[in-house]
């Protein structure tokens, strides 16, 4: 293992480590634009130049590999001068765009300017003008003036998606990123190019002008778009999710996530059911708890638990499902479970999975396999045959086509009692005798198990909207109203019950400032 001395600190690193990584291990940051750990190394931005003893020329740290006995200085005068020169060079044609640039706040150029340059402009000439607001793809906009030609996006399209849409055209100070003629940046992962763009040249059209990034608070969470469960930073402002950003997890999604997944955050805000409804009348939780308990008692007395169907959803978290099971079996006394959830969709061989429910695996773990659960088709059949008198449903998704759904909704009329716990207003919620609002995964914390069987914890980002509550809290409330309390007050109590092994997951810990 080669030993290397960086700024006087001697460390031992693995063979083949680049200087940049070695410096990071030693605790020194080397500024860089074009280098990205998941992409190939072109060493074209020259920001990461460091001084290596014995070399008369400064070396790019991202490219040079460590050799034994190397003595490196990342802070010498020559390096500082070089860094200033590089930054000044980049800034020469950079427009005064911070106020209108979405990147401001997470822009590397800004960070490095303050950290490594901080000198005044010496420019006395006109800036080069290039294309602005160029729709380079359906999800991404391109601004030529801000581009520093680090080619991260080009390499992304070559190496990660393999779609090869982008290239550099022109030369010198007119060089720009463009798509090949007749194509546009429309692959399923195109917004990742905006993520990896160190400046504001490529920006997401969805996030465009929505919110300044420095105002965002970030919470570690998991994408609910499919059963892959990509790790994300859930970024929110004023109790609204503003965007998802992929969170590095080499086991699941590496640095990336798909465009469709990014847009699923909208579900958390669209058409929400915010108040408990009793036959279309808004009630508060106290009153609705009583009403539900009354009705449930009556139905259980009249018809017995056997005719009650309980629909569980793979959209819900493990904690929710665990309490659903407890509630159904212990409080209501039914084991008549049906499986809900969204219908399958597209998939590819990279990240996108066909199963659009984030927690089917978790559901199977909670219920000991999916075999005991009846299918949704079975539910429809039972309903139409009239063997069910009451229905308790988690989430309003069912894997039906539109014909089946219509039939299902018609069949609901004959039920004595239909209780729905759902996030959204829908035709189902309108039919429900009791519609109880639940919150999205951003408003609570819990666990999903993805298709690879990895348990993934997500954190609460903000308080539930309106009067909605997580599923598990609704169950505990109702169980209290039914005088068979499930004694859980905090989510970690549920987790302790579910995963008895002491598993310390650091995800939940608050990052210290």
């Amino acid at each position: 293992m080669p030993k290397v001395t960086i700024n006087g600190t001697e460390i031992e690193v693995e063979k083949g480590t680049t200087l940049l990584r070695a410096a990071a291990q030693a605790g020194y940051e080397v500024p860089h634009f074009c280098y990205h750990p998941a992409l190939s190394i072109p060493a074209n931005c020259r920001m990461c130049l460091v001084e290596v003893e014995g070399n008369w020329k400064l070396q790019p740290a991202c490219y040079s590999e460590v050799t034994d006995g190397m003595v490196v200085n990342t802070k010498s005068d020559r390096v500082v001068k070089a860094q200033k020169a590089v930054l000044e060079f980049i800034l020469v044609n950079h427009p005064v765009d911070c106020p209108i640039c979405d990147q401001a706040g997470e822009c590397k150029l800004q960070d490095y300017y303050m950290a490594y340059d901080a000198q005044e402009s010496r420019l006395r000439t006109e800036k080069q003008s290039k294309v602005k607001v160029f729709p380079i793809g359906p999800e991404v906009l391109y601004d030529g003036e801000r581009c520093i030609l680090c080619t991260r996006c080009v390499r992304f399209c070559e190496e990660i998606t393999g779609t090869n849409e982008l290239t550099i055209v022109q030369r010198g100070d007119s060089a720009e990123i463009r798509t090949f003629p007749g194509r546009e940046l429309d692959n399923d992962y195109s917004v990742c190019t905006a993520d990896i763009c160190p400046v504001g040249a490529l920006t997401s059209r969805d996030f465009r002008f929505k919110c300044r990034v420095w105002l965002l608070s970030s919470t570690d969470s998991v994408c609910t778009g499919c059963s892959r469960g990509c790790n994300i930073h859930l970024e929110h402002f004023r109790n609204e999710i503003q965007r998802y950003r992929p969170r590095y997890n080499p086991q699941v999604n590496d640095y990336w996530m798909c465009d469709a997944g990014r847009l699923t955050y909208k579900e958390a805000h669209e058409d929400r059911l915010l108040r408990p409804m009793n036959n279309g009348v808004q009630l508060n939780w106290h009153a609705v708890g009583e009403a539900t308990a009354d009705k449930l008692r009556r139905v259980l007395k009249d018809d017995g638990a056997a005719t009650m169907a309980f629909v569980v959803s793979p959209q819900a978290s493990c904690e929710d499902l665990f309490l659903a099971r407890e509630f159904a079996t212990k409080v209501l006394g039914t084991t008549n479970f049906y499986l809900g959830g969204k219908a399958d969709g597209d998939s590819d061989d990279f990240l996108i999975e066909a199963d659009k429910n984030p927690n089917r695996e978790g559901l199977s773990q909670v219920f000991g396999g999916l075999d005991d659960l009846k299918t949704a088709v079975q539910l429809l059949q039972d309903l139409e045959e009239g063997t069910l008198s009451s229905l308790y449903m988690m989430e309003s998704h069912l894997p039906f086509d539109s014909g089946e759904r219509t039939r299902f909704i018609d069949a609901l009329d004959q039920l004595d009692l239909f209780i729905l716990q759902a996030q959204h207003r829908s035709d189902l919620a309108a039919k429900a005798h009791l519609a109880l609002p639940t919150c999205s995964h951003a408003e609570t914390s819990g666990t999903f198990v993805n298709s690879q069987g990895i348990h993934q914890r997500f954190d609460q980002a903000f308080a539930p909207h309106g009067q909605s509550l997580p599923h598990w809290q609704i169950f505990t409330r109702l169980s209290k109203a039914l005088d068979a309390p499930l004694e859980y007050t905090f989510v970690h109590q549920v987790q302790k019950e579910m995963f008895p092994a002491p598993e310390e997951e650091d995800d939940a810990a608050q990052p210290a400032e």
Binding site: R238, N239, E240, A268, H269, E270, D271, R272, L274, R275, H465, G466, A509, Q510, A512
Partner: protein
């Protein structure tokens, strides 16, 4: 600044000193908790130090650090014109510090304030009540894990406290967008 005061403490109470520095002209000694009143009394009564004035007592909450709290005493000598900062470490589980109210009149209220704001109890304080907040208040607001806006109204108000999200939505938004608010 000479390090006279730091040396004084280090000489007489060597076991108690965890750390010391005089950065930015503030002589600072980090101390263990238990013998604090003794040290302060010595500093007050010894003629070479004569720290006859207690300038401030406060606490710092270093969330996620162990020990979590630090109680800071700033002592001053009116006659010698010198100042010493004592920092006493306090664990989260055993959140108490010895009281020095018998040494300085000012300590009574300062300790009450620290108790009020941080929940650090002072052993031996005769009247450890809240000073700035009211009796009904639960929790200690300056702890880092106390949410800034978590108010605890005393009045049985007919109207609820300001919900900033809703206020923004009602008053600011040009058109109501879907989803996030009530019908």
């Amino acid at each position: 600044m000479s390090k006279k005061l730091i040396d004084f403490v280090a000489k007489h109470f060597a076991d108690e000193v965890l750390d010391s520095h005089s950065r930015l002209g503030n002589d600072t000694v980090v101390l263990k908790r238990d013998r604090l009143p003794e040290i302060v009394e010595r500093l007050r009564d010894d003629e070479s130090t004569a720290m006859n004035m207690l300038r401030a007592i406060t606490s710092v909450d270093y969330l996620n650090r162990i020990p979590r709290f630090e109680v800071v005493y700033v002592l001053y000598s009116i006659s010698k014109k010198h100042m010493l900062t004592l920092r006493v470490v306090v664990e989260e589980e055993d959140c108490t510090a010895p009281s020095i109210h018998h040494l300085y009149g000012a300590a009574g209220w300062m300790e009450r304030e620290v108790w009020d704001m941080y929940g650090v109890e002072f052993d031996g304080h005769p009247d450890l009540r809240r000073v700035l907040l009211y009796e009904e208040f639960e929790g200690h607001p300056l702890r880092k894990d106390y949410a800034k806006q978590a108010s605890q109204p005393r009045l049985d108000l007919l109207v609820r406290e300001r919900d900033s999200v809703e206020e923004f939505n009602v008053f600011y938004k040009s058109k109501p967008s879907e989803g996030s608010r009530d019908s």
